[in-house]
C-alpha cells in the first residue's frame, strides 16, 4: 500500500512536469527551419514523394540503420536466450520422452485452414512487397512491409504449429539485407554526397516507381530484413512453446 502511495506521489510530480509541458505547448503555424528544408528540398534533392520515407531512409538513415539493428539485436538475443532454454528443455525431456510421444501434435489443424492459409500466404507476401517497394511514393515502407511479411509467417505458424522453418534461411536473409544496407551506405560516401546518400542512382521523376535514387532498394532490403527479424522472433518463441508442451 505504501508503494502505491509513493507511486501516486511521484506521479503527481510527473504530472506537474507534463502539465507544464502541455500548457506551454503552442502549435506551430509555420514549418520550422528543419521541416521547411525538407518541404523545399526533398522533391528536388531526393526525389521521393513521401517525405517521411526520404527522411527515414536518407536524411536520418543512420537512425534507421540503428533501428534495424535494434530488431537484429532483439532477434539475436531471443535466439540466444531461447536456444539455451531449448537445449535445457531437450535435456530435461530425454527421460520422459517415450511416454509423451503420442502428444507430439496435440492440435492438428483443419484441412480448410491449411488450404486457406496456403492460398493467403503468397498474397500477403505480395502485399508486403508492394508496401515496401512503394514506400517512397505512398504511406508505408520497409517496416510496415516487413511486418506484413512476418504476418504471413505468423499465419503459417498458427495453422500448423509444428511447421519447421529454416532458421538458416531466415538468418541469411536478415544478415544479407543488413550487409547490403551498410554497403550501399558506404558506397554513398564514394559515389555520392556521403554515407547513405540516395543519389547513387538517378533520382528520376517525382512520383514514378523508379525514382528517389536507391531509396526503394534500401527500403526493400529493410523490408526483407524486418520481416526476417520478426519472423525469427516469433518462430523462436513459438518453438520453445512446443518444446515446453512436449515436456509437460
Amino acid at each position: 500500500m505504501t508503494r502505491r502511495f509513493f507511486v501516486v506521489l511521484l506521479l503527481l510530480g510527473l504530472i506537474a512536469i507534463f502539465a507544464n509541458l502541455l500548457f506551454n505547448y503552442a502549435m506551430d503555424s509555420e514549418l520550422n527551419q528543419t521541416a521547411r528544408y525538407y518541404a523545399k528540398h526533398t522533391a528536388t534533392d531526393i526525389g521521393a514523394a513521401n517525405i517521411v520515407t526520404a527522411i527515414i531512409v536518407t536524411y536520418r538513415g543512420l537512425d534507421t540503420l540503428g533501428e534495424v539493428t535494434v530488431l537484429f539485436l532483439t532477434a539475436s538475443i531471443i535466439g540466444l536466450v531461447l536456444a539455451r532454454s531449448k537445449n535445457k528443455a531437450q535435456a530435461d525431456a530425454q527421460p520422459t520422452q517415450r511416454s509423451n510421444q503420442h502428444k507430439t501434435r496435440p492440435f492438428p489443424s483443419g484441412e480448410l485452414l491449411t488450404t486457406g492459409s496456403d492460398l493467403l500466404v503468397p498474397l500477403i507476401l505480395l502485399l508486403g512487397a508492394y508496401v515496401f517497394i512503394n514506400g517512397h511514393l505512398t504511406p508505408g515502407g520497409g517496416f510496415q512491409g516487413g511486418a506484413i511479411l512476418a504476418s504471413a509467417a505468423l499465419l503459417l505458424l498458427l495453422t500448423n504449429p509444428s511447421r519447421h522453418f529454416s532458421h538458416q534461411l531466415i538468418s541469411k536473409v536478415e544478415s544479407t539485407s543488413g550487409l547490403i544496407f551498410i554497403v550501399l551506405g558506404i558506397l554513398g560516401i564514394f559515389f555520392a554526397g556521403g554515407f547513405l546518400d540516395n543519389r547513387l542512382l538517378p533520382t528520376g521523376t517525382l512520383g514514378s516507381i523508379f525514382s528517389a535514387g536507391i531509396i526503394p532498394v534500401i527500403y526493400s532490403f529493410i523490408g526483407l530484413k524486418v520481416g526476417a527479424e520478426f519472423t525469427s522472433m516469433m518462430i523462436n518463441l513459438a518453438e520453445t512453446e512446443k518444446k515446453q508442451e512436449k515436456n509437460k
Binding site: L14, A16, N24, Y25, Q33, Y37, L62, L73, A83, K172
Partner: protein, 1051 residues
C-alpha cells in the same frame, strides 16, 4: 582519416551482420569478431595519432549528403577519438577475456557484443539528439543481451531490472527530445545549444528531461540499484566493459548535453555528481562482495567525473586534460579490477587472498589501486591536482572539500581490500589456476600496460613535468622488474644506488638538505645492511622500501608545491606497503594510510588555496600568501604534516604501525619516515612564520600540541609491555619535542629541532634494530617474558644501553647536547606553561627507558631462552655503526650543527641568540657546553664507579634461580608472576587518566558511525526491480524540485 567514424560504425555493424551469413563455425566467427574489434580500435587509434601529431580541428562528418540539422552528423575530435579508442579496446580485450563464453554461446552473442561496442562509439560520435537516443537504446538492448553471458543465474533478474529502468528512461527522454525539437526546430545538439533551448518557452523543461535521463544513465546515487546488480552478477568481462566503456560514453553524452544547458545546469550536475561520489563510496565501505564493491566504486567515479564536467566553466583549456585523466584512470583500473575478479572463485573480499603468491597479479592490483585513487605518477594525480588548484582559485571550497572527502573514503576501502589480499588467511589452499587461462592474465596485463602508458602520457603533457622522468622514482620502480632476484643482489643494488645518488647530488644540497639527505640516503643504506640477513628473494620489500626512499629524497629537493606533493604521496604509499609487511599489521597499516592520505589531502588543499591559480606554485611563495587565506593555509599544511609526525590527536596509527613492522622496517619508518613530517614543518615555518587566526597565534598552538604530544607520548610509553610499542610511543613524545622546538620560532629552537632530527634518527634506529634483534631471537616482544639476556646477547645489550643513554639526554651522549640546546632555547621564550609540560616529560622518559635494560637484559633468564644466540650479524652491524656515530656526534656535534646554525641564522637575523662555536666548546647566552670535557669527566666517573663496584662485589653471593618464595598467593595469569609485569601500576593509578584512549575512541566512533549508517541505509536497495524504477522516478522528481527551487523553473 576521412569518415573514419562512419567506417568504425559500419565495421561493427557489418561484422555483426556478416556473422549471420557465414557458416556457423564458432572459431571462425570469433576470429571475425576479434578482427573487426581490432579494426575499430585501429581506426580510433589513427584518429588519436593524427590529432596528437597535427592537432587538426575536429572532423565533421555529414551523412546523406546534407548539412545538419537536416541530416545526422557526427563529429570526431581528440576527446571523441580517445573515448572511442577506450571503448573499442576494452571491447576487444573483454572479447578476448570472454573467449570461452563467446565460443559457447556462438555467433549471436558475438554479434551482440559487436553492436554494443559500435553503439557506444556511436553515442560518442553523434551530434544529433535523436540519434543519440537510438544509439543509447542499442546499448541498452545489447546490455540486456550480454548480461546473460554470465554464469550467475541471478544475472537474469538484474537484466530485467535494468530493462525496466531503461524503459522508464527512454519514455522520458523521448518526451524531452520531441519538445526540445518543437522549441528549437532542430535535433542537432549544437543547433539546440545555439538556439539557447533553455531560454525558450517549454525549452528548459524539455532540457531538464533530456538531461535528467542522461544523468540517470550514469546511475546516480541512490537511484542506481539496477546498475549495481548488473555489476555484481554479469560476466566480469562484461562488467568491465559496462563500467569502463558504457560509463565513458554516457559521460560524454552528459557533456554534450551540458553544452545546451548552460551554466545553471552545471551546478546541478556538480551537486548530483558529488552526492553520488560520496554516497556511493560510503556504501562501498560496508560491501563484502567484491564485484558489488567495484560497482559502487564505478558509480562513485562516474559521479566524480560528472562533478568535474559540472565545473567545466572554470576549467577552461584544462577541462579535457582533467576530466579525461580521471575518466581514463577510472576506466582502465575498473576494467582491470573486474578482469582480475574473474580469477577469484568466491565473491567476498577475503577470497582475494588467493592472489597472494602471484606477485605479477598483485603488482597489477597495486597498479589499479594507485591508478584509481589518483596516486602519482598516474593520470588521476595530475588531473586531481590541477582540478583542485582551479577549484581553490575560484573559491569553490565546498566542492574541493567534498571531492577530497570522497577520495579519502574510496582510498580507505581500496587499501583495506589490499590489506586483505596480503594478510588474510587463504581458506582452502586452492590457488587460482592461472595457467589454465593464460590469455586472461594477458588481458589483465594489457590494462597494467595501459595504466603505465597513461601515466607517461599524462606526465608528458602536464604543465608540471613528467614524474616518470624522476630518476629516484624510476630506480624504485626498477625493483619491481627484478623482484625475483635473490635478496643479496637486490640489497647491494639498493645500497649502492642510494650511496651513489648521495654522492652525485651532494654538491647541490644546502645545509638543511644535507642533514636530511644523509639521514635518508646514508642512514637508509645503513639500515638496509640488516637486509642481508634475509633469505630468499623477499618479494615486494624492495619496491616498497625504495619507493619510500625515492619519495623522501624527492621531497627534500622539491622546489615547487607539485613536486613536493608528488613526493609526499610517493613516500606515503611506499611506506604503507612497507608497514603492511609486518605479521599482524593489517589494521595498523590501514589506519596509517588513511591518516596519511587524509593528511596529504589537507596539504593538497592547503597548497591549492595558497596557489590561487598560480601554475607551478613554488614553496618559497608560501611566504607571499595574502591575508585572508594565509592562516588557513598554515593550518591545513601544519595539520597535514603533523599527521606524519603523529602529533597527539592524529597519532593513533603510529604505535601499531611501528611496533608490528618487520625488524629492519621499524627503524626505517620510525627513524627516517617521521622526519618527512618534520621537514614539511620546517618548510612551512621557514616560509610562513607566524600566522594568526581569529587572534590566535598558530605557532603558539603548535607549541602546545608539541608539549602535549611529548607528555602523553612518554606517559603512554611507560605503561607498555611490548618493547617495540614502547619505542613507538616514545617516538610520539620525541616528535613532540621537535615540534615544540620548531614552534618556538627562534634560532635555538630550530637548532634543537634539527639536533632532534639527527639524534632521534640515530638512537631510534639503533633501539628498534637491537630490540628487533632480541625479539627475533626470543620470538616475543613482551618484555615480561624476557629477562637476563645480558650474557647471551652482550652486543645487543651495549647497543640498547648506549641508545637509552642517548635518548634520555643525560651526559655524555648527544642526547644531552640536544637537551642543552633545548633548555637554552626555552629560556629565551615566554611560554611558561607548555614549558612545564616539556620539563615534566623529561623524567618520564627515564621511567620507560630503563625498563628496556632492566626487564630485558637484567633479572632472571627464562628457561626457554637458555639456548638463544646473539642477534644476527647483519642486524648487529648497523647497530655498531650507530653506536659509533652516537659517540662521534657526542664529542663533536659542531661538525654538523655549526653549519646548520649558520644556515638558520638568516631566518632569525632580527633576533639575537645564536650559538658561539669556538673550537670544541659551544656557548650561549646562558652557559657553555664542551662536549669533549664532559666526555672525559663522565668517563672518569664511570671508570672509578666501576672499579669500586668490582671491588665491593668481590664477596657477593650467587643465588640459585628458584630461590624465591611466594606469600601464598596464586597468580591468576602467569605473566603476573613476572616482576616486570605492569611495572608502573602505581603510576597508572595516578596518571592513568591521561592515557585513556580518548582519541582512539573518537576516531573509532567516527568510523563506526560511517559504517553503521551505510549498513543501515543500504537496505534502501531492496533488490526489487520495481522499487528501483520508483527510486529513479523519485530521482527525476527530486531533481525537478531542486531545479524549480533553484531557478523557479524558468530562466
Amino acid at each position: 582519416m576521412v569518415n573514419g567514424a562512419l567506417y568504425l560504425v559500419a565495421i561493427g555493424l557489418g561484422a555483426a551482420f556478416l556473422l549471420g551469413i557465414l557458416p556457423d563455425r564458432r572459431e571462425l566467427s570469433y576470429k571475425i569478431t576479434l578482427t573487426s574489434l581490432s579494426l575499430m580500435a585501429l581506426i580510433a587509434a589513427s584518429y588519436v595519432w593524427s590529432f596528437a601529431q597535427n592537432g587538426v580541428l575536429p572532423e565533421q562528418i555529414y551523412t546523406a549528403g546534407s548539412r545538419p540539422p537536416f541530416a545526422i552528423n557526427l563529429r570526431v575530435g581528440m576527446a571523441e577519438a580517445v573515448l572511442s579508442l577506450l571503448i573499442s579496446l576494452s571491447g576487444l580485450f573483454s572479447a578476448l577475456y570472454m573467449r570461452d563464453s563467446l565460443l559457447k554461446q556462438g555467433r549471436r552473442a558475438m554479434a551482440v557484443l559487436l553492436v554494443f561496442v559500435m553503439a557506444l562509439c556511436g553515442i560518442v560520435f553523434t551530434r544529433d539528439m535523436f540519434n543519440l537516443f537510438v544509439f543509447s537504446e542499442l546499448s541498452v538492448i545489447s546490455t540486456g543481451g550480454l548480461v546473460l553471458l554470465s554464469h550467475d543465474s541471478r544475472a537474469l533478474g538484474a537484466g530485467f531490472k535494468y530493462l525496466m529502468v531503461s524503459q522508464l528512461l527512454s519514455i522520458l527522454l523521448l518526451i524531452g527530445i520531441i519538445f526540445a525539437y518543437h522549441a528549437t526546430g532542430t535535433l542537432n545538439i549544437d543547433g539546440m545549444a545555439e538556439a539557447r533551448l533553455n531560454t525558450l518557452v517549454g525549452g528548459s523543461l524539455s532540457f531538464f528531461l533530456m538531461f535528467v535521463v542522461i544523468v540517470a544513465e550514469l546511475k546516480p546515487f541512490p537511484a542506481n540499484g539496477w546498475g549495481l546488480d548488473i555489476y555484481e552478477s554479469a560476466h566480469p568481462a562484461f562488467s568491465a566493459l559496462f563500467s569502463a566503456a558504457s560509463g565513458a560514453a554516457m559521460l560524454f553524452a552528459a557533456d554534450k548535453l551540458l553544452l545546451i544547458g548552460g551554466t545553471q545546469w552545471l551546478g546541478i550536475a556538480t551537486a548530483i555528481g558529488l552526492f553520488t561520489f560520496i554516497g556511493s563510496n560510503i556504501f562501498a565501505l560496508v560491501q563484502e562482495n567484491d564485484r558489488r564493491l567495484l560497482g559502487y566504486s564505478s558509480v562513485a567515479q562516474l559521479g566524480l567525473i560528472l562533478a568535474v564536467i559540472g565545473q567545466r566553466d572554470l576549467l577552461g583549456d584544462h577541462y579535457h586534460y582533467i576530466a579525461g585523466g580521471i575518466l581514463l584512470a577510472h576506466a582502465v583500473s575498473k576494467a582491470g579490477f573486474f578482469w582480475l575478479s574473474g580469477f577469484i572463485e568466491e565473491r567476498n573480499l577475503g577470497a582475494w587472498a588467493s592472489l597472494r603468491g602471484h606477485s605479477p597479479l598483485i603488482f597489477a592490483f597495486v597498479t589499479f589501486i594507485a591508478l584509481l585513487t589518483g596516486l602519482p605518477p598516474f593520470p588521476g594525480f595530475y588531473a586531481k591536482w590541477d582540478l583542485l588548484m582551479m577549484l581553490a582559485s575560484e573559491g569553490r571550497f565546498w566542492v574541493l572539500g567534498l571531492i577530497l572527502l570522497g577520495a579519502l573514503i574510496e582510498a580507505a576501502y581500496l587499501f583495506r581490500w589490499f590489506g586483505y589480499i596480503i594478510k588474510r588467511d587463504i581458506e582452502d589452499e586452492v590457488k587460482p589456476s592461472l595457467l589454465s587461462h593464460p590469455f586472461k592474465v594477458d588481458v589483465v596485463f594489457s590494462a597494467v600496460i595501459a595504466a603505465w602508458s597513461l601515466a607517461y602520457i599524462w606526465g608528458a603533457i602536464s604543465q608540471h613535468g613528467n614524474l616518470l622522468h624522476s630518476i629516484p622514482l624510476l630506480f624504485a620502480l626498477g625493483f619491481v622488474l627484478i623482484d625475483t632476484l635473490p635478496v643479496k643482489i637486490k640489497n647491494s643494488i639498493a645500497i649502492a644506488g642510494m650511496i651513489l645518488w648521495f654522492i652525485y647530488q651532494y654538491p647541490s644540497y644546502d645545509a638543511l638538505q644535507v642533514i636530511f639527505s644523509s639521514i635518508i640516503l646514508l642512514g637508509g643504506a645503513l639500515i638496509l645492511l640488516a637486509g642481508y640477513h634475509e633469505k630468499g628473494s623477499r618479494p615486494g620489500f624492495y619496491p616498497a622500501a625504495m619507493l619510500m626512499f625515492a619519495g623522501l629524497i624527492m621531497l627534500i629537493v622539491a622546489q615547487g608545491s607539485f613536486d613536493f606533493f608528488a613526493a609526499w604521496e610517493t613516500l606515503t604509499v611506499g611506506s604503507y606497503f612497507l608497514i603492511l609487511r609486518g605479521k599482524k599489521s593489517e589494521p595498523h597499516a590501514l589506519s596509517y594510510i588513511v591518516f596519511s592520505l587524509g593528511g596529504a589531502f589537507l596539504i593538497l588543499a592547503g597548497f591549492a588555496i595558497a596557489a590561487q591559480g598560480t601554475v607551478n606554485f613554488q614553496l618559497k611563495a608560501l611566504a607571499d600568501v595574502a591575508s585572508p587565506y594565509a592562516a588557513w593555509v598554515f593550518l591545513l599544511l601544519a595539520i597535514g604534516f603533523m599527521t606524519k609526525t603523529a602529533a597527539v590527536g592524529v597519532h593513533i596509527w603510529l604505535p601499531g604501525a611501528h611496533a608490528e613492522a618487520e625488524t629492519d622496517v621499524s627503524p626505517m619508518v620510525s627513524g627516517i619516515l617521521l622526519k618527512a613530517g618534520l621537514f614539511g614543518l620546517f618548510v612551512l615555518l621557514m616560509n610562513m612564520g607566524k600566522q594568526q587566526l581569529y587572534g590566535v597565534e598558530l605557532s603558539h598552538v603548535l607549541l602546545w600540541i608539541g608539549a602535549i604530544s611529548a607528555l602523553l607520548g612518554n606517559l603512554m610509553a611507560i605503561f607498555q609491555e611490548d618493547a617495540k610499542r614502547l619505542l613507538a610511543y616514545s617516538s610520539i613524545g620525541q616528535m613532540g619535542y621537535a615540534v615544540f622546538g620548531m614552534a618556538m620560532m627562534n634560532q635555538l629552537g630550530w637548532l634543537m629541532a634539527l639536533m632532534f632530527v639527527i639524534n632521534h634518527f640515530i638512537y631510534k634506529s639503533l633501539l628498534f634494530l637491537s630490540i628487533g634483534g632480541v625479539a627475533k631471537r626470543t620470538g616475543t616482544r613482551e618484555m615480561y617474558r624476557m629477562g637476563g639476556l645480558i650474557t647471551l646477547m652482550p652486543l645487543s645489550f651495549i647497543a640498547v644501553l648506549i641508545g637509552i643513554i642517548a635518548v634520555s639526554g643525560v651526559p655524555p651522549l648527544s642526547g644531552f647536547g640536544g637537551r642543552w640546546i633545548f633548555y637554552n632555547a626555552i629560556m629565551t621564550t615566554e611560554y611558561r606553561l607548555p614549558m612545564v609540560l616539556i620539563f615534566l616529560s623529561g623524567p618520564i622518559a627515564f621511567l620507560y627507558l630503563f625498563r628496556l635494560i632492566h626487564t630485558i637484559f637484567l633479572g632472571q633468564l627464562k628457561d626457554e631462552f637458555r639456548q638463544i644466540r646473539e642477534a644476527p650479524f647483519w642486524i648487529l652491524l648497523p647497530q655498531m655503526v650507530f653506536v659509533a656515530a652516537l659517540l662521534i656526534f657526542a664529542v663533536v656535534p659542531g661538525l654538523v650543527l655549526r653549519r646548520v646554525d649558520a644556515y638558520l641564522a638568516p631566518f632569525f637575523a632580527s633576533q639575537s641568540g645564536g650559538l658561539n662555536w669556538e673550537g670544541l666548546t659551544i656557548s650561549s647566552d646562558f652557559g657553555y657546553w664542551s662536549p669533549v670535557s664532559i666526555m672525559i669527566i663522565i668517563a672518569a666517573i664511570f671508570a672509578s664507579l666501576f672499579a669500586w663496584l668490582v671491588f665491593v662485589n668481590r664477596k657477593a653471593q650467587k643465588v640459585k634461580q628458584f630461590n624465591i618464595a611466594f606469600s601464598a598467593e596464586r597468580p591468576y595469569r602467569p605473566e603476573t608472576t613476572h616482576f616486570a609485569w605492569n611495572f608502573f601500576a602505581p603510576y597508572r593509578k595516578a596518571l592513568g587518566f591521561l592515557t585513556q584512549p580518548f582519541v582512539t575512541r573518537f576516531w573509532e566512533s567516527l568510523t563506526n558511525f560511517l559504517h553503521g549508517g551505510a549498513e543501515f541505509s543500504r537496505r534502501f536497495y531492496t533488490g526489487n526491480g520495481q522499487t528501483y524504477a520508483i527510486h529513479l522516478l523519485g530521482f527525476v522528481v527530486a531533481i525537478y524540485l531542486l531545479w524549480v527551487g533553484m531557478t523557479g523553473g524558468r530562466l
